[in-house]
């Protein structure tokens, strides 16, 4: 311990942005100014509106939006697309705009002046809506309007230093020119802000990736580094993905679940542990989708969910009918839900946010992702790894038993685990492959990994029949030897 005086403790105000408060360890410094820097289109206004909306919605805290940039009408329209109904909040008296846009507000400058109405209008709006949260958007636009006026800086300085007296927590947005440059704007560094956030929207492997980083948080702990986020209507705006901060826990359950195939359960020593993360891999045509359908329909009373990234929902139900598996029944009863989506339609972060929201909605105890290879297309292995870590973590968190489907390139199942960290993330790995006996291609299944339990080490033959996947004998070569790892 040192004798240095402890900085005064800052109270944190929950931002209301999902998982941002986790990386900010609580939220934004209460009754202080946080600078939110980002390039054009990086999500500053969304972040701001979501911050305000969360205050009204969750804590009945009034909101003030001071805009120098977009007209209130434009902001209302844009936010409506994200499910934030600003006009409703205005009618409620909980949200007030201070419209400082347009040169009409200015007129022709003929002599010296002050921004004398700046603070009175803001204070009036705060009183009117009983505000606890405020957004000022944006610093760059203020400078653009009043570039030649010294008093602008003075007015802003006064404003920032009097925020504490106003009793509001303020987000002040600012433009960044370079995506990774410093937050340099004229005069920004001289403002006594207590926190600085940076939003980025930078290309990575041909896709734009959104991230948020906390550059400064006076007197308070926070997670450092860039955290991806997505903007979706489902989550009413931004959801931060706190990837590097997620901890991986092993499954704690000792309860075993059936795989929907008695023989397979035996291979696993009585089924797989509840909330395991399982990977099934194999080349195309080996019955991975059939395998996962068995898993999904093992127990008609359990809630199950399938995220299909490759085949449409109808086709899946048709296939399952051909195998005589009760996929359609589960759909009718509502215990089974299938979400089909094309991997290319969104970024990995957006997929993740959507998946998490749907999991929370349906609350399945089993889930299948078919296939993660489809999701990996067009993404860097780094981004894919982060995605999988977060996906696995949220399944574990909700005690969901998950089955990830992966493709392998060669017919004997090689290349499944060599190129990713997926091996260490999963508890169970099942490999489906082809093997050849006397010129005939057959199917073989092997359990490569089964954490915390005995497993059968041999490869078994299986057949795809009208009843689904049927396990056969242990595969031996012509000399009667088994295929050992």
């Amino acid at each position: 311990m040192t004798d240095e005086p402890t900085p005064p403790t800052l109270n944190k105000l929950p931002s209301g942005i999902p998982d941002f408060d986790f990386i900010a360890q609580g939220g934004l410094p209460e009754n202080r100014v946080t600078l939110l820097a980002g390039s054009v289109g990086s999500g500053k206004t969304v972040f701001g509106c979501q911050f305000l909306e969360a205050g009204v919605r969750d804590k009945n805290e009034g909101a003030v939006f001071v805009t120098f940039e977009e007209s209130p009408q434009k902001i209302r329209q844009n936010m409506a697309g994200l499910g934030i109904d600003i006009p409703a909040r205005e009618r409620q008296g909980a949200w007030a705009f201070v419209d400082m846009t347009s040169t009409e507000a200015l007129g022709e400058v003929q002599g010296t002046f002050d921004l004398g109405a700046f603070l009175p209008r803001i204070e009036y709006a705060i009183r009117k809506s009983d505000a606890k949260r405020m957004v000022v958007d944006s610093l760059g636009a203020i400078y653009a309007q009043f570039a030649h006026v010294r008093s602008v800086r003075q007015a802003l300085h006064n404003f920032i230093t009097t925020v504490g007296r106003l009793g509001v927590t303020v987000l002040l947005t600012a433009e960044r020119q370079e995506k990774h440059g410093s937050v340099t704007l004229p005069g920004v560094e001289e403002f006594p802000v207590d926190a600085v956030l940076a939003l980025r929207h930078a290309p990575e492997a041909g896709r734009r990736r959104r991230t948020v980083e906390i550059l400064k948080m006076r007197g308070a702990a926070h997670h450092s580094g860039e955290f991806p986020f997505s903007v979706t209507a489902e989550s009413r705006g931004i959801t931060v993905v706190p990837l590097p901060a997620i901890e991986l826990n092993q499954p704690t359950s000792s309860k075993r679940l059936s795989m929907g195939m008695e023989d397979l359960d035996t291979m696993f020593g009585g089924g797989i542990f509840k909330s395991s993360i399982m990977l099934v891999g194999g080349p195309t045509g080996t019955g991975k989708t059939l395998f996962s359908t068995h898993f999904l329909t093992a127990d008609p009373d359990e809630r199950a969910m399938l995220f299909a990234f490759e085949e449409g929902r109808d086709q899946l139900a048709r296939n399952a009918k051909g195998w005589n598996l009760p996929l359609a029944g589960g759909l009718e009863r509502g215990t089974l839900r299938i979400e089909a989506c094309y991997p290319e339609t969104a970024t990995l972060e957006t997929h993740l946010v959507r998946i998490k929201a749907l999991l929370e909605q349906h609350r399945p105890s089993r889930v299948v992702f078919d296939s993660i290879a489809a999701l990996a297309r067009g993404n860097t292995s780094h981004a894919m790894r982060q995605f999988l870590v977060a996906l696995v973590a949220s399944c574990r968190e909700q005690q969901i038993t998950a089955l990830l489907v992966a493709n392998t390139r060669d017919l004997t199942g090689g290349g499944l685990v060599s190129e990713s960290d997926i091996f260490s993330m999963t508890d169970v790995i099942v490999l489906l492959r082809y093997f050849e006996v006397a010129g005939e291609l057959r199917h073989g299944l092997r359990v490569l990994k089964m954490r915390g339990s005995e497993k059968e080490r041999f490869m078994r033959e299986y057949r795809i029949t009208g009843q689904g996947l049927e396990l056969g004998d242990i595969v031996r070569d012509s000399d009667g030897n088994t295929f050992l790892p």
């Binding site: 201070v98 419209d99 400082m100 347009s102 009409e104 507000a105 200015l106 007129g107 022709e108 400058v109 003929q110 002599g111 010296t112 002046f113 002050d114 921004l115 004398g116 109405a117 700046f118 009175p120 209008r121 204070e123 009036y124 709006a125």
Partner: protein, 126 residues
Amino acid sequence: MSLSDWPPGRKTHGKGIIGTESMAEFHITIFIAGEETAQARRSVETLGRILDEQLPGRYELEVVDVIAHPARAEKERILATPTIVRQLPPPARRIIGEIADPQRLLVGLNIDPTASPEANGERHDR
């Protein structure tokens, strides 16, 4: 005359009378911050003097203190003080800053004292 004689938001100056029944040809509003500040007093006095010289008996002047009447400032989207607005005849015309030069004021507000009332209202549309 001192500013404190004027009830805030509703003021008369010169020959004009503020009100809906007002018949003055020109309706001018000046927005200031803080009635008691020296700067605000100077702005109002300078403006009143110029208007008295240039538009004797033809104008009314309203002084609005944005600190006392922020809602009014919000409604008219005033940011800078002083802001001088020609409310009537339409269209509205506004200028910002201290002005001591009568000609600059008249040009800024697009007022020609020698023109007919109609002409003052129309010239802006040219």
